[in-house]
């Protein structure tokens, strides 16, 4: 393994100290992600992944972090991670412009997404702006500056986002399911709370969270697109003395002993299910769960999705297996006036996958699944998202796209059989799920009269 280790600090600037070049075997602590992917260590700790690609002259620049959405303190603060990331991106550093302005001036797009135990800061920009964005993003996050102006701007933005999210059935149902599946840890709470949660957070908490969560050793910097590996030279170093600090460990949630149903109010009739699934380390099982979600719920093409669209065109339906460190979660959310009928179709769908599909149906479904995997890897953002997500969840080699079609994910997909998929469905999806049911508010006077 030592053969592949390159000391390229001189070539890539002072900030990259260890790099495995494309095609070389990776050093022990760096994953080998393929012949066209460069993986390295940032000088102040943390990982950098560069995946050049021809095609559109754009680049995705993403910073991924392992950090609890509710903060590190004993008292959970929903939205803290989301607000902190927004404040840092909005705050003008001592030198230069804020990250938001740098990306905006390039005509690019900046998004910040917070999950239960991870954060993604993602920009897509014209390729000639990639270096400037790598520099700006690492400057902003590795040594975060939190200004009053940045805080005010970010607070307004995140409050508005929280308001919008409160009307999104997918988010509301997923949060309810996670809240019931896990009794503690960040998974128990919404990653983005309601606007009141946001306004309750003070600047001191934001600063404290940012200083710990956004350290360079805790970062995975991913750049993908029309760039060459030297784009990583633009990354700045972190704060001094941090290089040997370990990244954050994944949160260890406590599973609920029994799956209790949840009933809540929401703006429209909605519902969903959630089951605990395999950990990311169980690659074949996790891939089988992805296959099931694709087969049943792929937008436009899924077995259940197509039937719901045909019978209930106004209904909303989404189903995913969320690959997480341990455990993963299969969840389904639906909404609309026909929610009960949609639920029945969802039940039918799950029943179908608990027995092996016939050979022809399975071959067709697998061909579609493999096509969908490829189709979902065609943009720099999709590639960077995969590397970032699977890195923070602890299995970068398993990321779809790592090592191309010879990689672990594609191999796991190719190894699936109808019987194996059914056995995985039976193992995880035969248990009682958490069931969420939501109905519109009923005025009390009306309630009494019913």
């Amino acid at each position: 393994m030592v053969d592949g280790l390159r000391l390229r600090a001189a070539a890539l600037g002072a900030f990259l100290v260890l790099t495995t070049v494309p095609g070389a075997a990776a050093p022990a602590d760096l994953p080998n992600l393929g012949s066209n992917v460069t993986v390295g260590k940032l000088s102040a700790g943390g990982t950098v992944i560069v995946r050049p690609a021809q095609g559109a002259p754009v680049a995705a620049v993403e910073l991924w972090y392992r950090a609890p959405s509710t903060g590190f303190g004993p008292k959970p603060e929903p939205s803290l991670a989301r607000l902190a990331a927004q404040v840092v991106a909005a705050s003008k550093p001592l030198v230069g412009d804020s990250l938001g302005k740098v990306v905006g001036d390039l005509g690019g797009r900046l998004t910040i997404t917070v999950y239960s135990d991870s954060i993604a800061v993602a920009a897509v920009v014209p390729a000639q702006g990639a270096r400037a964005v790598v520099k700006s993003m690492t400057t902003a996050f590795f040594a975060p500056v939190v200004t009053d102006d940045g805080f005010r701007l970010a607070e307004r933005d995140v409050e508005q986002e929280a308001l919008f999210t409160g009307f999104d059935p997918e988010t509301v149902v997923r949060d309810a399911i996670f809240g019931q599946l896990f009794t503690d840890g960040p998974q128990h709470f919404p990653a983005l709370g309601n606007p009141k949660d946001v306004s309750a957070i003070g600047i001191a908490d934001v600063r404290s969270f940012a200083m710990r969560a956004f350290r360079s050793p805790n970062a995975v910097l991913v750049v993908s697109g029309s760039v060459d590996p030297s784009v990583a030279e633009a990354a700045v170093g972190g704060r001094s003395g941090e290089a040997d600090v370990d990244p954050e460990a994944p949160a260890v949630p406590t599973l609920a002993a029994a799956a209790a149903p949840v009933s809540r109010t929401f703006v429209q009739p909605s519902g969903g299910y959630g089951w605990v699934g395999p950990a990311i380390a169980d690659e074949r099982e996790a891939t089988a769960m992805d296959f099931i979600a694709d087969y049943l719920f792929r937008t436009d093409d899924g077995l259940v999705s197509k039937e719901v669209a045909r019978r209930y065109p106004d209904a909303f339906l989404v189903g995913n297996f969320i690959t997480l460190h341990d455990p993963g979660v299969m969840f389904v959310a639906y909404a609309g006036k026909d929610a009960d009928a949609v639920k029945a179709l969802v039940d039918d769908g799950f029943a179908k996958v608990r027995v092996p599909l016939d050979a022809q149906a399975f071959a067709s479904a697998l061909a579609q699944f493999e096509y969908h995997m490829r189709s979902d890897l065609q943009t720099p953002t999709e590639i960077a998202d995969n590397f970032g997500w699977y890195s923070v969840e602890g299995a970068p080699d398993y990321a779809p796209g790592a090592n191309g079609e010879d990689g672990a994910y594609f191999k796991a997909a190719a190894s699936l059989t109808s019987a194996f998929v059914a056995s995985v469905a039976d193992r995880y999806l035969s248990k009682d799920p958490v069931v969420v049911t939501m109905h519109p508010d009923v005025p009390k006077a009306k309630e009494k009269s019913q």
């Binding site: 002259p57 938001g100 797009r109 000639q128 493999e370 490829r374």
Partner: protein
């Protein structure tokens, strides 16, 4: 909401002034897409962009059977034909399912000038997928049952559009601006679709699906069999002539007509529609700059990028129809619409009165280029742009030609184009229903 609007507007105005004082950015080498090429397939051409890193390949097959070919009583017929083709049996299953079972996908989009079918799959399988489409074209299923199923699907899709205030506003403007079928809704309406039967679908197909009406553009790892597959597909269609369409539009009067509709929306939306130059016009680059300027100049100063529902003001340059148009929208849930509308019109006028400063021009050109590129990343979007730009006179390397037009744009161009196109407009107002009967 008024105060919330005034603050970002002030920021926007200050931003424009401040930009005049900015030093011009150092010039970087222009970014380019991989060079595209044209392959002569006999009657038609394939415009292609090779991208060997793309895990899939995609091909757009354009047929000159878009909205501008629909007659006054045919609204929705182009989509109806497409829906029937998707349902035409191939190997015993509907074409769309046959393509999916083969590890691919198909979709279609009707626009002003054409209908374009998009097929995507593993590169090696793409010729076979196109072969499936050829078989459907050879024997399209316009049976009453298939037409009825297609009609149901279109009514659903038309209904989805009715719930989107921006889509409704744009459709209102188009209907008012275009005198040809280009102004009609892509999926028709419940009323128009009810009038269309198997004979109408077959007649429209017979009149428009001719070999010379076909063109194709592809992106990805393009295998040798692709050209042959497209040639075979063209051979399925009859020869014939494709009459030129007249891109007739209304002359927009100086007094700015207003059209009003009520829908089940929570807040009013305003869509202001302008005439705009075609992609092969010398004004094209300047209009891209104006689109970017109008889309970004009024927004609240958000750090992360806002979606169209969150934006208070946005703009879209619609070059899918001939002549093209530009729409600027105001989202009444984010801002006070009458104030915002006034500001948009003031800026539109002022852009025609004096040229942008050097730094401001470079700023908006950079933003326009970035927006153009980041909107055109996946294989579907790139192949569409290649095909539609090539068909509108930008040559085979059409996307790069569009970027070149943007880069050559001067401040005088922007001023001239603002003066030429932004002084007359149609205002479409989409208002919440006040009573159930509205």
């Amino acid at each position: 909401m008024t105060h919330a609007f005034l603050r970002p507007l002030a920021v926007g105005a200050l931003g424009l002034s401040a930009l005049l004082a900015l030093p011009a950015a150092a010039s970087a080498p222009p970014a380019r897409y991989p060079q595209a090429f044209a392959t002569d397939l006999g009657v038609t051409k394939l415009i292609g962009e090779t991208d060997t890193d793309a895990p899939i390949a995609g091909v757009q097959i354009f047929v000159a059977a878009g909205l501008d070919r629909e007659g006054p009583k045919q609204s929705g017929v182009s989509s109806l034909v497409a829906e029937c083709l998707e349902r035409t049996p191939v190997d015993g299953v509907p074409l769309r399912d046959a393509v999916a079972a083969h590890g691919g996908s198909m979709s279609y989009t009707v626009d002003g000038r054409s209908i374009h079918y998009y097929f995507e799959s593993d590169p090696e399988r793409l010729p076979a997928v196109i072969g499936m489409f050829a078989r459907a074209l050879a024997a399209p299923d316009f049976s009453p049952a298939t037409v009825a199923a297609a009609r149901v699907a279109l009514v659903q899709r038309a209904g989805e559009g009715e719930a989107n205030a921006l889509a409704v506003g744009i459709a209102m403007f188009r209907q008012s601006y275009y005198l040809s079928g280009a102004g009609m809704p892509a999926y028709g309406s419940t009323t128009s679709l009810a009038q269309l039967g198997p004979a109408d679908a077959a007649a429209f197909f017979g009149a428009t699906y001719k070999r010379p009406a076909l063109s194709a553009s592809a992106v990805g790892k393009l295998v040798p069999g692709l050209g042959d597959a497209l040639k075979s597909l063209a051979d399925v269609l009859p020869d014939g002539t494709v009459a030129a369409t007249q891109g007739r539009t209304r002359v927009i009067p100086a007094e700015a007509p207003r059209i009003v509709a009520h829908r089940d929306v929570s807040a009013p939306w305003v869509v202001v529609g302008f005439a705009a130059p075609a992609p092969d016009s010398k004004d094209f680059g300047a209009m891209l700059v104006l689109e970017s300027l109008l889309a970004g100049a009024f927004d609240r100063n958000s750090t992360t990028t806002l979606g169209f529902v969150e934006k208070s003001v946005g703009a879209f340059y619609l070059y899918d129809s001939s002549p093209a148009s530009l729409v600027v929208y105001v989202n009444g849930s984010e801002t006070e619409p009458s104030v915002a509308l006034r500001e948009v019109l003031v800026v539109s006028r002022s852009l025609s009165l004096k040229p942008l400063g050097t730094a401001a021009l470079e700023h908006f050109k950079t933003a326009a280029e970035g927006r153009f590129m980041t909107d055109s990343v996946n294989v579907s979007d790139r192949s569409y742009l290649l095909g539609t730009f090539a068909a509108q006179g930008l040559g085979p390397d059409a996307i790069n030609a569009a970027l070149g037009a943007l880069e050559r744009t001067t401040a005088a161009d922007v001023q001239r184009v603002a003066k030429k196109y932004l002084q007359r407009y149609i205002v479409a107002l989409v208002l919440p229903r006040q009573t159930p009967s509205q």
